[in-house]
């Protein structure tokens, strides 16, 4: 039985993890994909489907955390154009 607050806290945790990518494109993609992924399943009513979707998201969260750590060990040496102009 997965509760609403658990789903929301997983979403928040994934967004927080994705913000730590030093790479512009991966950061933006993770934010967009996580929000869209959770929104797509927003209106599920069948509890077993909700549990299934939650388990899938949890597995992807594990992969996300690992890949953020790995990618952070190799940050880009110069800033992306998109970040430079923002200054």
């Amino acid at each position: 039985m997965v509760s609403r607050s658990e789903v929301l806290s997983l979403c928040r945790a994934m967004l927080r993890a994705g913000r730590q990518y030093p790479h512009y494109n991966l950061r933006e993609y993770t934010k967009r994909r996580t929000l869209d992924g959770f929104r797509m399943n927003k209106n599920l009513t069948d509890q077993s489907k909700v549990n299934e979707a939650y388990a899938e998201a949890k597995a992807q969260f594990v992969v996300l955390e690992r890949s953020v750590k790995f990618h952070s060990l190799y940050p880009p040496k110069t800033k992306n154009i998109m970040e430079v102009k923002l200054q």
Partner: protein
């Protein structure tokens, strides 16, 4: 002392609250002497750019998706056995992993895992398909049909076959880039051994009418080979519906690693071919050599991901393509899209700007990573042969730019690309006397240029 500094930097990098490497915390250890954060710009090949360009060249290659990277790491570190070693756990583990990847690739295209042969990329797969099939049937079949817009590796393999004595028909394409089905039907002879037509063109992005071509090949009982490197994972591919006998695939076009690809060889009815790589008989005897386990796992994970994300990515990329095209068309006139707009993969936009010189446009667009013509033929200054086959004028062919949009492209990047392109084209057109003449109403094609 140096090792303490390195570990503390790594700890700081791992626990950083936000992603952008901030200027104040630059690495000051001896080990990191190469990076210099005071001067943010990059100086390369005599050009100074203020940061890493935004990447809009997804047809040349794509960045590796982090989820794919994750799937590749474990095998390199722990499961490093040779998948063909039959006597110990390391070999069994590696073989299982390769078989899992094979199933993932097969599911993406609607084939059976036994029909997938892993290779080093789409170029090797194209070579094996074209040369292998023709060499196998060289006593009875002497004719190959292909198009003028194929990838260089297919065209070069056909030229090699011509030198060996085979005959090759290079079908012309219509002005929208699609193959004329009647011409194909007429070109098929009783001794045609292979028809090779790519599914999605890498330069102009048009999608050929694959089902109809497959139907024609089935009627005449000719094997149908297609180079689907740009197609898998982006448009729905079904080898049974398209009646495909051989299909080349590449990993690094669908967010996988470079150096791996696959060839689909149909088993029912059987397609037979001569292998290019002789050796211990791995991969059903068609491609000997140790399987590149790490790359293959990456390829499988990329295919799996592509299958799940195809619809979502397609919607996103289509929106970005419209944003790009409308953004440029609002501010500029004389913009021509090369290739059919209806039958096109949305991530590939090949535009020609009239009255602008191509090389100077590319030199001015250094902050956007785009390409003009395909990466394989960029060494020469000739306009691309694909655009020439479409019947595009020489001057328009020189100014063509190929924008490649992908999964990771953002709206802001597209807006910035539009802004930079428009700025550069307007600047070049202001300097161009031809454009002045056109604005005054003179028809350029009917000018009598005087000899000096």
């Amino acid at each position: 002392m140096a090792s303490k500094a390195i570990t503390s930097t790594i700890r700081r990098a791992l626990s950083k609250p936000h992603g952008v490497v901030s200027r104040r915390h630059h690495l000051s250890t001896a080990a990191a002497a190469a990076t210099d954060y005071e001067d943010e710009s990059i100086m390369m090949k005599g050009v100074r750019i203020s940061g890493r360009p935004l990447y809009l060249d997804m047809q040349a290659t794509t960045p590796i998706d982090p989820r794919v990277f994750d799937a590749m790491n474990d095998s390199g570190i722990n499961e490093y056995g040779n998948p063909h070693s039959r006597t110990h756990l390391y070999g069994w583990e590696a073989e299982n992993a390769v078989e899992v990847a094979r199933i993932q690739v097969a599911k993406l295209i609607g084939a059976s895992p036994k029909e997938i042969i892993f290779m080093s990329g789409a170029t090797e797969a194209n070579n094996t398909a074209v040369k292998g099939v023709m060499h196998f049937y060289k006593d009875t079949k002497k004719h190959v049909i292909t198009t003028q817009t194929e990838h260089k590796c297919v065209l070069d393999s056909c030229r090699h076959l011509q030198q060996e004595g085979f005959e090759v028909t290079y079908l012309p394409v219509k002005t929208d880039g699609l193959v004329d089905l009647e011409m194909l039907r007429e070109a098929i002879r009783p001794d045609t051994g292979l028809v090779s037509i790519m599914a999605v063109n890498n330069e102009i992005g048009v999608v050929q009418p694959m089902e109809e071509i497959g139907q024609i090949c089935k009627e005449h009982n000719v094997p149908f080979h297609t180079d689907a490197a740009q197609a898998i994972g982006k448009i729905p591919v079904d080898v049974k519906k398209w009646n495909i006998g051989l299909m080349s695939m590449s990993a690094h076009k669908i967010y996988g690693p470079k150096g791996v690809g696959a060839l689909f060889v149909r088993r029912r009815p059987r397609i037979r071919l001569e292998p290019l790589m002789n050796g211990g008989g791995q991969e059903r005897g068609l491609r000997s050599g140790t399987a590149a386990t790490q790359q293959i796992l990456g390829f499988g994970a990329a295919c799996d991901l592509a299958m799940k994300e195809m619809e979502y990515d397609e919607k996103w990329i289509k929106g970005l393509q419209e944003r790009l095209l409308n953004g440029i068309r609002e501010k500029l006139d004389g913009v021509v899209v090369n290739g059919s707009m209806e039958s096109r993969y949305s991530g590939n936009l090949n535009l020609s700007f009239a009255y602008v010189e191509g090389e100077s446009l590319l030199m001015g667009l250094k902050e956007v990573a785009v390409s003009s013509g395909s990466a394989c033929t960029s060494a020469s200054l000739e306009p691309s042969y694909v655009l020439r086959a479409l019947g595009v004028d020489e001057d328009m062919a020189h100014t063509s730019i190929r924008f490649g949009i992908g999964r990771f492209t953002t709206k802001e990047e597209i807006d910035k690309a539009v802004e930079l392109t428009v700025k550069q084209v307007v600047k070049l057109r202001e300097m161009s006397p031809l454009y002045e003449m056109v604005k005054e109403g003179i028809d350029i094609k009917n000018i009598q240029w005087s000899q000096h």
